[in-house]
């Protein structure tokens, strides 16, 4: 714990506004400064984007298979004009394909949270559970989730369901490990308080274990979602039929390369939004001030 915030400013170092103004001139108003900062960030982002597009364009002039940025752009506009069209099972808009994939990710991820968070809390709080589960998770964690696909396909006899199970396995490990790590690092002083005042299981879970593990849990969720979103594309490319991954593969097979590029852009945008959402959530649950 730190001391009172009032003590944070050292009264012996006093720089008056007048003295500062005499030295460096008046500071710009905060609003102006903020706008200048944002303009700078946006400017450099545009520079980076321009360099990337230039390199892409150069590469596309050398390689006939790679669509040019201009072609990709016009295809993107066409695609976004009507993303949700549905011309039967073999011809659906990118929006519908995305929704299918997001639904699978949502199911697998949700199930992974339901299993991973309680199991992780248990692992973190009890050494025996840790010792029982940690070796298994350490061996299974580095396995590419795609390696599981044949097993689940054989078991469930249903490609979409197998995809959901693969996503579940994908999302489970980061949630489990991060939750366990968060739950295992309760500050000693809080453990002592819980012991001295003889906290029951519910109070310990509610007031000590979960609050301390929460930032770590959200980190786990963010990692899980990131990997799950990558893996769903690969799984659907394997399993075919529906989803954004299958869409990418279908477009390749019909030699519609601009559509592949557009799909990549859309997948990236959705992944970024998902990551941003969890980043926000992480900030919301981050510990404030001292502990």
């Amino acid at each position: 714990m730190s001391t009172n915030t009032q003590e944070a400013t050292d009264p012996s170092i006093v720089v008056t506004d007048e003295a500062l103004a005499a030295l460096v001139g008046p500071p710009p108003p905060p609003r102006e400064r903020r706008i200048a900062k944002i303009a700078g960030a946006v400017g450099w982002a545009l520079v980076g984007l321009a360099a990337f597009v230039a390199a892409w364009w150069f590469a596309s002039t050398r390689s006939p298979g790679l669509p040019s940025p201009a072609l990709a752009w016009s295809t993107l506009l066409d695609t976004l004009a009507d993303p949700f069209y549905d011309n039967g099972p073999n011809d659906k808009g990118v929006g519908l394909q995305l929704l299918t994939s997001m639904g699978r990710v949502g199911q697998g991820f949700g199930f992974a949270v339901l299993v991973g968070v309680p199991a992780g809390l248990l692992m973190g709080a009890s050494r025996r559970t840790w010792q029982a589960l940690n070796p298994i998770s350490q061996v299974l964690r580095p396995v590419s989730p795609l390696a599981w696909f044949p097993i689940w396909l054989k078991v469930s006899q249903d490609a979409p369901r197998a995809a959901v199970i693969v996503i579940f396995i994908t999302a489970l490990w980061p949630v489990l490990i991060n939750t366990a790590a968060g739950a295992a690092t309760i500050p000693q002083e809080q453990q002592d308080v819980a012991k001295v005042f003889r906290f029951g299981r519910v109070a310990y879970l509610r007031h000590v274990l979960v609050p301390n593990a929460l930032p770590s849990i959200v980190t786990g969720l963010r990692l899980s979602m990131g990997i799950a979103w990558m893996v769903i594309v690969a799984v659907e490319m394997l399993s075919g039929s529906t989803g954004i991954g299958a869409h990418v593969w279908t477009m390749y097979n019909t030699s519609n390369m601009p559509a592949v590029v557009v799909a990549i852009i859309v997948i990236g945008a959705v992944g970024m939004l998902l990551d941003l959402a969890f980043l926000r959530l992480g900030r919301a649950v981050a510990p404030k001030g001292r502990s």
Binding site: M1, T3, D192, K195, F199, G200, H207, K288
Partner: protein
């Protein structure tokens, strides 16, 4: 009626932090445990609190062995140890509720209000620990301990991290709560401040450094209460004990070095 410590041993690795400690603390006394850092005084307090399991020896409270934390003993830690996401009110109330499941909800609320009020924090009760000063945080911890209504209050360098003025005010509040407000009978306080030890206590127990790590000396402080901080220093017994404590601690310092 007393707390009896007999032949207590505790070893961390090869280091004897407690070696054959014998100590009897009568009910109703305020006892200061003093000694250099690492002399085992906090370990002894933790053992009485039931947080530390000794390697040998016994602790009994009125004949009943002490092996784990219990509602008859409450503790105040040096680091305040409030739960950061709970308000001051919730910190006290949840702890009392958990420590005293035998009591009704209204008793819990009454004790919470009484002791948060007694330390002058009732109007700040909805603030989080991060929003208050160190002194206020520690007053909350003191209120939390008293509100459990323990027989013995255990204080582990409770005022060590506070500035001198705040410390003086909290010492005063502690004595008032112990003497007048509460049913708490006995107080054991670990400190490394000689003045604090003598000012507050009926008895001062000096712990020796490892490898001896046992009770080195016990002083009675025959200064009548209420003691006035401003004039207590003029008391002959105060000066005498102060000098002896200084001498012992200085000597121990040399042995340790």
């Amino acid at each position: 009626m007393s707390l009896q410590i007999r032949g207590l041993h505790k070893t961390y690795g090869t280091q004897h932090v407690l070696r054959d400690v014998d100590l009897t603390i009568d009910t109703g006394q305020f006892v200061s445990l003093i000694g250099h850092s690492g002399c085992g005084k906090s370990t002894l307090l933790g053992a009485v609190g039931g947080l530390v399991t000794p390697d040998g020896g016994t602790i009994t409270l009125d004949g009943t062995p002490v092996t784990e934390p219990g509602p008859d003993r409450a503790m105040v830690f040096q680091s305040y140890s409030l739960l950061p996401r709970l308000s001051l009110l919730q910190n006290v109330r949840e702890a009392v509720k958990e420590a005293r499941p035998d009591r009704t909800r209204s008793w819990v609320d009454e004790m919470t209000e009484r002791y948060l009020g007694a330390v002058g924090l009732w109007e700040h009760r909805h603030k989080k620990p991060a929003q208050v000063s160190g002194g206020m945080a520690q007053r909350t911890a003191v209120a939390r301990a008293f509100a459990v209504s323990p027989r013995i209050l255990l204080l582990d360098e409770p005022f060590g991290a506070l500035d001198a003025l705040t410390r003086a005010r909290l010492q005063q509040q502690l004595i008032e709560l112990w003497g007048n407000e509460s049913d708490t009978e006995t107080v054991i306080m670990v400190t490394h401040g000689i003045d604090e030890a003598v000012l507050l206590a009926d008895r001062v127990v000096v712990m020796a450094n490892p490898p001896f790590a046992s009770v080195r000396e016990v002083f009675d402080v025959p200064i009548p209460r209420p003691r006035d901080r401003a004039t207590v220093g003029d008391h002959a017994a105060y000066k005498d004990i102060q000098h002896q404590l200084l001498a012992i601690l200085a000597e121990d310092q040399l042995v340790a070095a």
